[in-house]
């Protein structure tokens, strides 16, 4: 079932430049759909339309069968976890308060928030003694783990992730990718994941959508993607070399 559905969605800048052109795409329950593309392909824009950080002027975008325009925007955003490359942790809050912010403003009882924190911090592979630290006292990998935990805090069924592991060193990145994958096997969220990294797409994606200049070029499974005859897909695959280790995830 489609949890997120783009129907003929276009997006233009005020100066008329098209960022997205007639995008049609459905993200199914429990899958990780990877939006792959180079910078400027419109993938981040597509992501931000879903939680209405940008507004959809043309076409229809549905979340859980309802147009995002009909959703109360605050309810919509609390229904969707959001993790970005820069993380955006609140520098004046401790790790615990960062993670507990949405539960707090949703008026969860204190004990429930504390329990949720313990649960999440384990889930993302950190020990509970980071609770009282501030973001600047964490490493990049720890920060991103906290960012993911914060996105999951109120247990939203949908996750939007914009190159969340992009700024990490390759080793930490691989660790986090694998951990996220096993996390996802437990949690079964519906994930829309933006990246320009084909390796990451191959590792994480249930399906891969390639965007180029705001247009959907191809939408396929990982296996089909590598074998695609489409010249743009081929170019992308070649750019990453023939040794794309998509098999390291094992057969699904």
């Amino acid at each position: 079932m489609a949890v997120i559905e783009f129907r003929d969605v276009s997006y233009h800048l005020p100066d008329g430049r098209a960022i997205l052109r007639n995008l049609n795409l459905a993200v199914h329950r429990g899958e990780i759909l990877v939006l792959l593309g180079r910078s400027g392909s419109g993938k981040t824009t597509a992501l931000k339309l879903v939680n209405r950080l940008l507004d959809t002027p043309h076409g229809e975008l549905r979340v859980d069968g309802r147009s995002v325009r009909e959703w109360d925007v605050i309810k919509l955003r609390r229904h969707i976890g959001y993790a970005i490359q820069e993380v955006g942790l609140f520098p004046h809050f401790t790790v615990e308060r960062n993670i507990g912010l949405v539960p707090t403003i949703e008026n969860w009882p204190k004990e429930k928030i504390a329990r949720r924190f313990e649960e999440l911090i384990k889930l993302v592979g950190l020990s509970a003694d980071v609770a009282s630290r501030y973001p600047h006292q964490l490493s990049g990998g720890q920060r991103q783990r906290v960012g993911v935990a914060r996105a999951l805090a109120a247990d939203p069924p949908i996750l939007l992730m914009d190159e969340p592991f992009g700024a990490l060193d390759p080793l930490t990145r691989t660790d986090l990718q694998r951990e996220f994958l096993s996390l996802q096997q437990k949690l079964q969220k519906t994930v829309l994941f933006v990246t320009h990294d084909l390796r990451e797409a191959m590792l994480l994606g249930s399906r891969i959508a390639l965007l180029e200049e705001g247009k959907l070029v191809s939408l396929s499974s990982r296996e089909e993607f590598l074998a695609s005859p489409d010249p743009l897909v081929k170019k992308y695959v070649e750019a990453f070399g023939t040794a794309v280790e998509w098999s390291e995830r094992g057969t699904p």
Binding site: N51, L53, I74, K75, L76, R77, R78, G81, Y82, I84, E86, V87, G88, L89, F90, P91, H92, L101, V102, I105, Y134, P135, H136, Q137, G147, R150, A151, L160
Partner: protein, 213 residues
């Protein structure tokens, strides 16, 4: 008669005038905070208002203080008492640093932090008081600090319209061509400015958000 004997003979008057001075500056600062910070926030929300608001505050700043005191004299109610008039004029002068620093402070909050906050479903109000204002606090306080120091200096001129304060001694000393009397007004005013600057500077440091290590 030297400086110290003048001070010791007139210590009660000097203390009175110092209090009067403090009162004018304090009241003006509070009014300026109450008006300037909300205005500064408003112009981050309505970018179209930014230029006209800053321009208006800028223009006020360019009016020579003596002239501003004069312009305000005919104002009803305000003009009845020199003290009120002085507070109004000082408030107007203090607005610019407050509006500008509030705006700069809020706009200076890391965009990723604001985006994450909005993305996770904070309302505009929650974004403001949980994220933007705490993170902008030290910059806003720097504005308060500038405003207070300017006001302490400017308030000496308020004596020209009979509002009292330490300026009274300065003007009296000028008329008498007596440096000791001038200093008896100028030194406490300078000390007041230095103290306020130090205290607010300390507070500003305490309110700075934790920095990247």
């Amino acid at each position: 008669m030297n400086f110290w004997s003048f001070v010791s003979q007139n210590k009660f008057e000097i203390a009175d005038l110092t209090l009067e001075h403090l009162w004018m500056v304090g009241a003006a600062t509070l009014f300026a905070i109450a008006i300037g910070i909300p205005l500064g926030i408003l112009i981050t929300r309505k970018p179209g208002l930014r230029k006209p608001v800053i321009a208006a505050a800028n223009i006020v700043q360019t009016i020579p203080s003596l002239a501003l005191f004069g312009f305000l004299l005919p104002a009803p109610w305000i003009g009845d008492r020199a003290g009120r008039l002085a507070v109004l004029a000082l408030t107007l002068y203090a607005l610019l640093p407050l509006i500008r620093n509030t705006c700069t402070g809020i706009k200076g909050v890391d965009r990723a932090v604001v985006e994450a906050a909005r993305g996770m479903g904070l309302t505009d109000w929650q974004l403001l008081y949980k994220v933007e204002l705490p993170l902008a606090a030290s910059v806003i306080l720097a504005g308060v600090r500038v405003a207070v120091v300017i006001s302490i200096g400017l308030a000496t001129i308020a004596a020209a319209i009979g509002a009292g304060g330490l300026g009274e001694l300065i003007f009296r000393g000028l008329a008498m061509v007596n440096n000791d009397v001038i200093l008896a007004g100028a030194i406490p005013a300078a000390l007041m400015a230095l103290t306020a600057d130090t205290l607010l500077g300390w507070l500003e440091k305490r309110l700075s958000p934790p920095r990247a290590a």
